[in-house]
Symmetry: C2
Subunit: 296 residues, 2 copies
Amino acid sequence: MMDMFNWQNASQQAAVLVEKKLADLLGERDQDFSLLFEGMRYSALAGGKRIRPFLTLSIAQLFGGDEEPALSFAAAVEMVHTYSLIHDDLPCMDDDDYRRGRLTNHKVYGEAEAVLAGDALLTMAFEVIANAPADADCRIRAVHALSSAAGARGMVGGQMMDMKAERETPSLATLRRLHDCKTGALIRASAALGCIAAGVQDEDILASCHTYANGIGRAFQIVDDILDVYGDSRLLGKNTGQDAKDGKTTYLSYMTKQEAMQEAVTLTEQAKDALRPYRGSEMLLSFADALLNREK
Amino acid sequence: MMDMFNWQNASQQAAVLVEKKLADLLGERDQDFSLLFEGMRYSALAGGKRIRPFLTLSIAQLFGGDEEPALSFAAAVEMVHTYSLIHDDLPCMDDDDYRRGRLTNHKVYGEAEAVLAGDALLTMAFEVIANAPADADCRIRAVHALSSAAGARGMVGGQMMDMKAERETPSLATLRRLHDCKTGALIRASAALGCIAAGVQDEDILASCHTYANGIGRAFQIVDDILDVYGDSRLLGKNTGQDAKDGKTTYLSYMTKQEAMQEAVTLTEQAKDALRPYRGSEMLLSFADALLNREK
């Protein structure tokens, strides 16, 4: 049971839980597969905010779900997130040598190995859901939620839009859609997986969680764009001004800092309004505020 | 209903069915996603033997399954096969410019786009299963069968073993295991998906189909190795002697042509023996013979 009142405690607990689960799932003694699993662990256990598993676990808890199936779903969504980072970092994609201060997967294990580690993590996410301690209907709903969010009309589609946006400047509407797909879809799926783990069938609750995740996901991206220009590089742990240097179109290409911040505030309020009616949601409301007001 | 007596007719019918299904699933009118889907269709609709969907459909039919769920599962397994080819052909992997006489995916669409097309096909395979017209238990069994076969302890693990085998000569036992993972796992899963689509729970039937698929899969690889040395390059549509040129370890690194062929014959007989008791299996028995005696 996670702390229901303090999001810092709860998210730290969620991170510990999901990291233990990932370490269990990615342990492998078979010599023939050991290097592949080592590469998968390297990226899956590299830290990070663990926002997605936290959402899955805390929303499952909010609606009375057992921890075990929620933890499987949380690990699955984090595997999908991890695979997307490994593939994004590849030379043919963003060509990044470092992530969170560590060498990227392909710099350590090689490019082919990184492609395969990503492929294996994506595939295993569905195996983990299939093996989760929940009834078949619950598990198949989870497979549906995760696959539709992660695929061609979700995260991968958004990544493709992002590549196009580097060649031709996207409109503000296209920029919003790009982020709704590239990062929003998996954040919404994380919340949906929490509902599914708790056996929630009520359309109103599902819609509320959708609105919440949608709002915090959008606000998160806007704040990201603002921090890249106005943030403190020491707090961020990376150079500011990177988007401008890369010639990237951001929210600030279309609005002032004040307008962008106002939009992020509105989205956060909408997110909070959606969950406020549910008893025990205080922690998720303060989490939304924390994402809005973060400095890193 | 496919031809139950003539495997040529049946496999052609299966190919037509699965190609229509793939074309339906990969049709997309949304402008923002159209290039991604175009790349997915380019490889998924590029022909090929369609052995895996044929196995799924014909085994489902053998055990009285409806065509619709079997067709969804068949399309899913072919999506996984297609993604594996796209990623295998990448410059960082086998670096192939052509496949079946056409440019490979990354040569047409670019490397990053090919990575994403593969990722999207893999993800969509699970979405297709989740949406199949079958009960939840059947669908989640299918997700489990496909994900465990395609993942780190199956196809992807085998690919990783194959890369290692290029650096250090594998033993015969390792070579066998490599093929059992890299290609065998998905062939066995294709048969299992046929059983699952037909609602087969009987462990004996599942074991028989496993033995059948295992036998034809292993024999297929041995015949591949033999044809690469002794085949007719005009019939094969590719140069022979490629394995030797690439310094690849094959079955012929460990045995004579006669010994290898004898092993393929034995495996094919074991495969046929496993399915012979089931009424209506004649077509799959002659299919096993055809794979053994193929010249291309």
